[in-house]
Symmetry: D3
Subunit: 137 residues, 6 copies
Amino acid sequence: MPQLTVCRQEHFNAAHRLHNPAWDDAKNARVFGKCNNPNYHGHNYNLLVRLTGEVDPQTGYTFDMKRLSDLIKAEVTDRFDHRNLNLDTEEFRELNPTAENMAVVIWRRLRAVLPPALTLAVTLYETDRNFVEYYGE
Amino acid sequence: MPQLTVCRQEHFNAAHRLHNPAWDDAKNARVFGKCNNPNYHGHNYNLLVRLTGEVDPQTGYTFDMKRLSDLIKAEVTDRFDHRNLNLDTEEFRELNPTAENMAVVIWRRLRAVLPPALTLAVTLYETDRNFVEYYGE
Amino acid sequence: MPQLTVCRQEHFNAAHRLHNPAWDDAKNARVFGKCNNPNYHGHNYNLLVRLTGEVDPQTGYTFDMKRLSDLIKAEVTDRFDHRNLNLDTEEFRELNPTAENMAVVIWRRLRAVLPPALTLAVTLYETDRNFVEYYGE
Amino acid sequence: MPQLTVCRQEHFNAAHRLHNPAWDDAKNARVFGKCNNPNYHGHNYNLLVRLTGEVDPQTGYTFDMKRLSDLIKAEVTDRFDHRNLNLDTEEFRELNPTAENMAVVIWRRLRAVLPPALTLAVTLYETDRNFVEYYGE
Amino acid sequence: MPQLTVCRQEHFNAAHRLHNPAWDDAKNARVFGKCNNPNYHGHNYNLLVRLTGEVDPQTGYTFDMKRLSDLIKAEVTDRFDHRNLNLDTEEFRELNPTAENMAVVIWRRLRAVLPPALTLAVTLYETDRNFVEYYGE
Amino acid sequence: MPQLTVCRQEHFNAAHRLHNPAWDDAKNARVFGKCNNPNYHGHNYNLLVRLTGEVDPQTGYTFDMKRLSDLIKAEVTDRFDHRNLNLDTEEFRELNPTAENMAVVIWRRLRAVLPPALTLAVTLYETDRNFVEYYGE
């Protein structure tokens, strides 16, 4: 059967702050600039999830988009939407919530609940002009 | 001379929380839902500014877009970008930072520095699907 | 209190066909061209709803966007999404489902359930490049 | 019958330069900045045309979008697409091709060929973030 | 010579219904949900075609975009635009018109008319948030 | 450490003309069509730059987006923005400024100033519907 990639986009709105607790304030400010603002700032995050695998000849689906949307909601958007990533989530209490680290965390959460036969990639848009892609381990 | 409207879009990223201090926590949670999250959430705000007036026959401009962009930066985006609206700005320390209240505050700041002969309107996009328009007083 | 316009966008996917039963097939084909295809075609419709009114000083809202979204879903998108407008809906069994007629029907359904003090306008996008605006009666 | 606005978007790509021949080079450079570059620069222009009028009960159309598209092509895009506005068009040989002046010229060309009963407005996007609206004389 | 990928986007509007004739109605409804609506629904499909190959040093083109656009029109959009995929097209009379199956059909039609030296990939957007990519056999 | 791709989008507006000086006017007109217009035309170019590499555990960055944006400005947008590519730039005085050739030139300029450990790819959008991708040598 042909291999195809199915893609689904979801979004969430969150506050965050970039900060490395191992550094003093001056170094954090120098490295992270305005993203280090102590009182946080925020983004409308767009998340694109890509699954690659064979088409099921019965359904004509590689993976049901509705089910994919439900899984993304359960694993990612219900967890991060309208939250402060640094304060309200376990994942980023210690880990700096850069787009890179967020993409890795999201990939791992989704990987755990998706069929192993499907290849997974995620793209996380922090803004329309800044985004990261993670193709996995 | 013909009357035209010139439009310029800018953007900023901020954290906020919807909250009325005159109400108890239960009422705030009921009215504002997840937008009331105590630790804030955030948005990529898009701001569209519209100026209506006559075209200057010398320049062919109603208003120089570069100068409009500079004024928006000085009055709005430098002030709100990468800030926590509730904690880091004078305007929203007492005033609930709903899109409606933000549009009014932004309109007033811009009105004060723009030529009185020009009509001003602002559109503030909290997300692509939620936005407000303010045509002024 | 200031008057503001709050805007909310929703979408639905539907099949339709443009056809005037009072005309013969040749005239329908001549007037409506490929939109007259007997077996229907379809669109991803985007609907923008605008409500204008005073800001409530308690909430900082002109109208709660969440409640607006729920009303649009109940009155419009649950009704038309994944339907054949000509065959599956009462509204367009007799009435030609042009974007113009759809905008009027949608405006009337929403007008009936929204507070009379608020002014209502709708924009219906048939495609990104073809759309109609209806400001009401 | 209800009054509706039908909207159609078209685009064209053109070179231009902002310049007032009554001024010396220094003043042109000061006023128009990099838009005054002697060898021109260019844009992907998007043009949005809005027509307001009654819905025809026979067709359900305010105006046939296909016919509107054809008129915009004949009057605007075939004329300006892949041209140098300053050198290749009669309209802007003397008139400075600012977005404002372009919107007025386009409005007048379309006004001349559209039914007088319909109200006409045009929006010309020079970029996604800079645009002008002209509602006519 | 460097290898580059040239990309061209086209669109078409079609009605369809997801359905497996080997299953009974209950199973079809359970698997395909509202996409199984007997009277069809529809979409504005966006199609992105990617061709990878060497740049011709005479033209500076990998492939002429105008010719690519013409081929896509002849092979895909003229065939599917304003049609009911299930009823009006040979390809999907038996084959379930999921985005996956559509991408494979489109890829094969284009592959047959494009130079073998160029690698072909297609992306088919059913909506802005649901799409599939096919990189070929 | 995980390998990630960070992406940054910038834009510039330029005039250009497609032309091969080794051919006569008739052949140039036949091959390049309206893109061969002697007085130039123009575009709003969007440039997407992708860098792939390991995440730095100290910063959580693959590469600082602010620094990437500054490098793109210095190497590309300050050089090409509001210019005539054929007349005002060294790179395209002899080389035909097709999107393909532009992508290669931009890739080489960026490659020279970026850390060798990072893989570089660029996408250049001439319009929303015509674009090229270059993954390098």
